[in-house]
């Protein structure tokens, strides 16, 4: 019996790989397994290679594995591409007969079978589309999946939209796949998975988690331009917001998206936008406006691979610098980096409270790997969210104020807000430098005071920010630092290192800006060596740390800029090698 398995489904865009993968992930989740999915797909609708890997485990897992145990492919290209990752005794089922093209060395230790899914679909159902269900049937046999669960999921998926006939046909196709696989896969080649109780867990993506978080946080205005890999946030909100008195606007571009959200937030509604790469570049001017005008706003940036259009559907962490140092002028900003699906939800709620409390832009910086891939997580359950609107004046309070000043100089830098329509609150919101009432003021004296007032908010915010989380053995003197989606690979790498006798600890940085020196400094002081994991070329996280603390000689970068999330073995291998030096 296996306790951990990775299954890859591969084909061409348009083959239905994503759909089939999602169904399989759901089946395995309902069988009680922990799930991490990994989509590798092109920015293309039809024709290019795409694959979807589901890792399932009976233990808690955070990321993908290095190896694939079962590979199901609609064509052989995927096999040539991924053969190196297939584990020993791994099973490969492929549509075509081209398996002969594999070198003997590549075949050794692995099991190959031709499985004519397309042909079977055409012959028995007169439609190639059923190949996906035949594939699932094949997996049903190899993994010994529970038929009742599959039937339930297929029924839930198709019944409402397509009717009983389609449900029946799909189930027939699964049966067919199961029977046909039995003919070709030997009993001892199967990887049998047992069933655990699926108790109170969710299977969702980071994008969904963030969107749900926004709803619970009281966000009621969302404006965005569709962009991969953040689109799922808009789509989820577009469906749900109207039911909860919220509004979603699909804008003409990202310039409009952020500015519209700023308009709504200024008028008093919690507002958010989401974007990625090129869209974030367009948002820089609005980001700067939010800083100057002191308007609370939450921007979700699901990072994809840059520069330029880059690899739009793949994961990277190369936009840290853009938000930390980007946009013209100095202004306060808070940048959060969630590292788990649960944190995507929790940090979204915190982001709204932070934005309101400190009247500044809050950026939720995630990655495509978290945005679009699915993971199991303990059910969030009901959360009695504390919605803290910060220093927001009520009409009554405002009427008691003699001379209301929107940008009043106060000790913590946070001046009370009045909203348009309120009596006695008339003021200006100026993109130019302004005085306490918001009216343009170009004097050096005022400029200095206003600058200091705005920047003071960051200091006030410091105590309120999300501290780094430390994982692993506290006494270890090998330290790893990372943020966001490298959490999964780092956790896996730590297990691998532990198995080879190397103890490590890991600091997950959760607030990128303002930088929390003390915690990072303390962690570094407690380590002999520090490895900073960055899913980018320049080592942006490492540079950020180096610019803030004094330990340059201790720190080394582990980088990946291949367009894929870093693999556990890249991290563990690097550290093992470095320690031998």
């Amino acid at each position: 019996m296996r306790t951990d398995i990775s299954v890859m489904i591969a084909g061409k865009a348009g083959d239905g790989v994503l759909f089939t993968g999602n169904v399989l992930a759901k089946i395995l989740k309902r069988q009680g397994w922990e799930i991490v999915t990994y989509r590798n797909f092109p920015s293309n609708i039809r024709g290019e290679a795409t694959d979807y890997t589901i890792r399932a485990s009976l233990k808690k897992i955070y990321g993908s594995a290095d190896e694939i145990d079962v590979l199901m492919a609609f064509d052989c290209d995927a096999i040539f591409e991924h053969i190196g990752a297939v584990a020993e005794e791994g099973v490969v089922l492929c549509e075509g007969q081209e398996l002969t093209r594999l070198k003997p060395r590549e075949k050794t230790g692995r099991i190959f079978h031709a499985f004519p899914m397309r042909n079977l679909a055409r012959e028995r159902f007169g439609n190639e589309i059923f190949k996906n269900m035949i594939l699932l049937g094949g997996l049903c046999y190899i993994l010994d999946l529970d038929f009742r669960i599959i039937t339930q999921i297929i029924t839930d998926t198709f019944l409402k939209k397509k009717g009983t006939d389609v449900v029946a046909k799909n189930i027939q196709a699964i049966h067919l796949g199961c029977v046909e696989a039995q003919k070709i896969v030997r009993k001892e080649e199967r990887h049998l998975l047992k069933i655990k109780k699926d108790s109170n867990r969710l299977l969702l993506s980071g994008d969904e988690s963030i969107a749900y978080g926004a709803l619970v946080a009281g966000c009621r205005f969302f404006a965005a331009y569709p962009i991969c890999p953040a689109t799922e946030i808009s789509q989820w909100l577009a469906l749900y917001f109207p039911r909860y008195e919220g509004l979603v606007v699909q804008t003409e571009d990202e310039l409009a998206a952020l500015n519209m959200a700023l308009g709504a937030s200024y008028a008093g509604v919690r507002a958010m936008t989401s974007t990625s790469g090129p869209g974030a570049s367009l948002m820089m001017e609005g980001f700067s406006l939010a800083g100057m005008a002191e308007i609370p706003i939450v921007v979700v940036h699901v990072q994809r691979v840059g520069p330029s259009t880059g690899l739009p559907t793949k994961s990277e962490q190369a936009d840290l610098t853009q938000w930390i140092h980007g946009a013209h002028g100095d202004f306060p900003r808070i940048i959060l980096s969630p590292g788990t699906i649960k944190e995507c939800y929790e940090f979204t709620i915190m982001a709204f409270n932070l934005a309101d409390r400190y009247q500044c832009p809050v950026i939720l910086l995630t990655e495509q790997d978290y945005g679009q891939n699915y993971r199991t997580v303990k059910n969030f359950g009901y959360s009695k969210t504390q919605i803290d609107r910060g220093k927001m004046l009520s009409q009554k309070e405002l009427l008691d104020i003699d001379d209301y000043q929107r940008y009043k100089f106060v000790r913590d830098g946070i001046s009370p807000r009045a909203l348009p329509s309120m009596k006695n609150g008339i003021h200006m919101v100026e993109s130019n430098e302004h005085d306490v009432r918001g009216y343009r003021d170009e004097s050096s004296h005022n400029r200095k005071m206003m600058m200091e007032k705005r920047m003071k908010k960051l200091e006030s915010a410091r105590k309120d920010l999300i501290r780094p989380k430390i994982w692993g053995k506290r006494t270890a003197d090998i330290g790893i630092i990372g943020c966001g989606s490298t959490l999964g690979p780092i956790q896996e790498a730590m297990k691998q290192l532990f198995d080879s006798g190397i103890e490590t600890k890991y600091m997950q940085i959760r607030t990128l800006w303002p930088f929390l020196h003390t915690e990072v400094e303390n962690f570094i002081n407690g380590c002999e060596r520090i490895y900073v994991v960055d899913n980018n070329f320049e080592g942006q996280l490492k540079h950020l740390i180096m610019s803030q603390v004094n330990h340059k000689d201790k720190m080394e970068s582990i980088l990946n800029y291949s367009g894929q999330t870093i693999r556990p073995q890249e991290i563990s291998g690097f550290i093992q090698k470095a320690l031998k030096r």
Binding site: Y244, E245, L255, A264, A267, M428, S431
Partner: protein, 284 residues
């Protein structure tokens, strides 16, 4: 209410600037419609017009260059009870913010959009604007513009505009009338205001505008609700027509998106236990 209730400061635009006409007409409009200053939000962009907020007493938002309309749209959608007046120059509206202009027209958001069109970039000292006539010489195009000018009202018509007007800051009475109609209109109203820049534009002067415009009221039998007639007038004759050029009734964006017109601002923020659990069930 008195006119001076909307007057915060005396403006410091150049003496004779067309924007004075807009400023005074706007105050007169606010008075005649008995608008409360706290229920007006004036959103401006970057340009000489952007100072308007500093002189007009109401809530004001001086946004970024070209972004007045997205900001104003956000304000209006958040609180439909506000009267949101957006003011831009020709650079703001028809150059850097052109895309927002077309989309705001197409959405038919209930905004009143006043474009102070002086056919020049004035604040930045006299460069060619998208409404400058072909051949016009300026500091940015010293050998004359080689580009066709852009016509805002015509573009609005092609984009599905529901209220399209052109005014002239030299005829404040008509301007006030157009502002009033625009503010009453349910949906997006464009009032393109021909407005001389006395400092940088020596061609399109008050006299030039008087010679090159006519009042649409003089055109016998003109019906602004007649699409065909409007098309003819907007096609661009030798002279530009002043007045309400086109009008149609169409549900506004808020009518379609916010049933009951309840301001988003008053939306319930908390999601109760039952609802949270129901939503989370979808992820199980």
């Amino acid at each position: 209410m008195k006119k001076k209730d909307y007057h915060l400061h005396d403006p410091t635009w150049c003496l004779g600037c067309g924007i004075y006409g807009v400023f005074s007409s706007l105050k007169a409009t606010a008075l005649s419609l008995r608008m409360k200053p706290e229920e007006i939000v004036i959103v401006t962009g970057i340009g000489c017009h952007g100072r308007l907020n500093n002189y007009f007493r109401s809530y004001g938002f001086h946004s970024l260059h070209g972004r007045a309309l997205p900001v104003a749209t956000g304000v209006k959608l958040a609180n439909v009870r506000l009267s949101v007046i957006t003011v831009s120059g020709d650079g703001d509206a028809y150059s850097i913010g052109l895309s927002h202009f077309i989309h705001a027209v197409r959405r038919n958001v209930d905004l009143t959009y006043i474009v102070i069109n002086n056919m020049i970039f004035a604040l930045t000292q006299g460069q060619t604007s998208p409404t400058s006539r072909m051949g016009v010489i300026s500091v940015s195009m010293p050998f004359g513009s080689k580009e066709l000018p852009l016509d805002g009202p015509r573009l609005a018509f092609a984009s599905g505009g529901t209220f399209i007007a052109r005014g002239f800051s030299g005829t404040p009475k008509q301007l006030r009338h157009l502002f009033e109609q625009g503010l009453r209109h349910k949906g997006f109203s464009l009032i393109d205001v021909l407005s001389p820049c006395v400092t940088h534009n020596k061609i399109n002067t008050y006299d030039w505008y008087r010679k090159n415009t006519y009042d649409i009221g003089q055109k016998q039998g003109y019906d602004p609700e007649n699409r065909h007639m409007a098309e003819q007038v907007l096609k661009g004759e030798e002279k530009m027509a002043l007045g309400l050029l086109y009008k149609e009734e169409r549900p506004s964006y808020e009518d379609l998106l916010l049933p009951g017109k309840k301001p988003l601002l008053q939306s319930r923020l908390t999601i109760d236990r039952k609802e949270q659990e129901r939503i989370l069930k979808k992820f199980e």
